[in-house]
Symmetry: C2
Subunit: 308 residues, 2 copies
């Protein structure tokens, strides 16, 4: 039998990650580029196509050995039409049919989706959410992205816009949010907000990675810092857990490396604020697939669309 | 062909409603009793059985013409096991297998579920949510009950505990809630909370029905009163709409009679606070089936379980 492969692409504001996956979605080869090294939209699109083609040449594959290409994008997309509506953190993208463009450049079937949804798909199939029917998967970074698994499948909503957990209000009044509203969870615990807090406490040289390391050494200020983030996250989660009777919450992204000063506080808040049946049911877990979640999720998208 | 019927029962803290439904779930006969006229759990159970049997005798039906009995209950239940965990507003019910009991008394198949879930099922099949794939149905009364329709089906969660929209926190800090947490939506807009507010504004003789009538006559205080309720409801809804990209929100229960001073304020808050794609998609609708939603929903439960 001829071996088949899938290419998974994860375009982020910082990195463009590409992976060659076998038909079981194990990574056979991967590479990564600085997103900012591409000057504009056309260069990024060409970079993606070049990366796909280079996998084929370098691995000596027949083009027909590639089942398809999956691409995760950091913004709202029309997953069935293949159109990127816009990318909040990468300028120049507005209603771009990247599917058609890459298909023309590679002669391969291309499927696209929002990156947080693909991370959720990957975690639910092969990561921390595997085996849980109803799960919320979160990526804590610049934005607070989310994806919902309902009855074992990725839940999209009619506009493929479901999962925006970062935009749950946790107060009636509060700080302005990038989405145009205010007091959304992301306005409190998105990286920009917590770095601002961190600088006040630890001075201008601090980074979130440093605070995570300090917290693991039981530095009281660092522990308290992550506790506060966890409390706010826990309030929003309590509401969603009450509403959805979730089996699992999976937390990924840079902030998830903060360890038990974050996770402990999330769990404690859920036990205080969610209803007892729902609180007992839910498991709060760290994401498993790390930086590969996006490209692996893109692989699952291809399999799903091709019915494999 | 012999005509088939279903009995739908809706046990509430105030009334026990019973309906004889034809196989299209049209009401053929109904009756209602004051729940408090039954002294205890045994009397209520006997009252339900008597009501079912009296439909059979009065309509001159053969027992085999009844496909089954559906019962909605105002609290958490094990819908598959037939057990009522407890009823917050009716004393004496704790881990009661009402299914077995009524089956013994009536020799008919009995199915039970939470009342807010059955109201949601009815509204989604034959009411305001019909034709919408993803909808949240609310009952605004003493409690703020909810049921979620996801991909066209009632969504339960593993413990049948999903739908607790009333227990979404809308602030980090706030008034204590009956559930043991605080700052839940219900703690602000459940009947007890808003009546307390109303008495402060309108004096001790006021009722919510009166405020609704006043609001419809453009009484400024009454309009403002419902506007404030709508704002709080709108904050919680904005979060859920962002998360679930809902097609519809259906609002029922006594408070839903407040009219446009409530609905207008809910919609305005959603437009201010939810993300644009989600806000544009969602329709905010008044429930259609009124006081019959519970018994009709109980009928749909029977059909669903019997695969009819």
């Amino acid at each position: 039998m001829i071996k088949k492969f899938i290419v998974g692409i994860d375009l982020g504001g910082t990195n463009l990650k590409c992976a060659l996956l076998d038909s079981n979605l194990k990574i056979k080869a991967k590479n990564s580029f600085d997103t900012k090294s591409f000057d504009n939209k056309e260069r990024i699109t060409q970079g993606i196509a070049d990366s796909i083609n280079s996998f084929i040449f370098k691995q000596g594959l027949n083009r027909s050995a590639i089942l398809g290409v999956g691409i995760g994008l950091p913004g709202p997309v029309d997953t069935f039409g293949g159109v990127v509506h816009f990318l909040p953190n990468i300028p120049g993208w507005k209603e771009v049919n990247i599917k058609n463009n890459i298909e023309r450049k590679t002669k391969l079937p291309v499927f696209i989706d929002n990156d947080a949804k693909l991370m959720s798909l990957a975690e639910s199939k092969a990561g921390a959410a595997a085996g849980y029917s109803n799960a919320l998967c979160l990526t804590l970074g610049t934005g607070v992205g989310g994806g919902l698994i309902i009855n074992g499948s990725l839940y999209r909503g009619k506009d493929n816009a479901a999962g925006e957990f970062g935009h749950l209000p946790i107060n009636e009044k509060g700080p302005l949010c990038g989405c145009g509203s205010w007091a959304c969870l992301e306005a409190y615990i998105g990286n920009n907000a917590i770095i601002k807090e961190a600088v006040k406490i630890f001075g201008p040289e601090i980074s979130l990675e440093k605070i995570s390391r300090l917290a693991k050494k039981n530095n009281a200020k660092a522990v308290k810092f992550w506790n506060e983030v966890g409390k706010k996250l826990g309030v929003a989660l309590s509401g969603v857990i009450n509403l959805l009777n979730l089996d699992a919450v999976v937390i990924g992204g840079g902030v998830s490396c903060a360890g038990k000063s974050l996770f402990g506080s999330v769990k404690e808040t859920i036990f205080k604020r969610a209803m007892s049946v729902q609180a007992k049911r839910v498991r709060v877990l760290k994401a498993k697939l790390g930086i590969d979640a996006g490209t692996i999720g893109a692989g699952y998208l291809v399999k799903e669309r091709l019915g494999k």
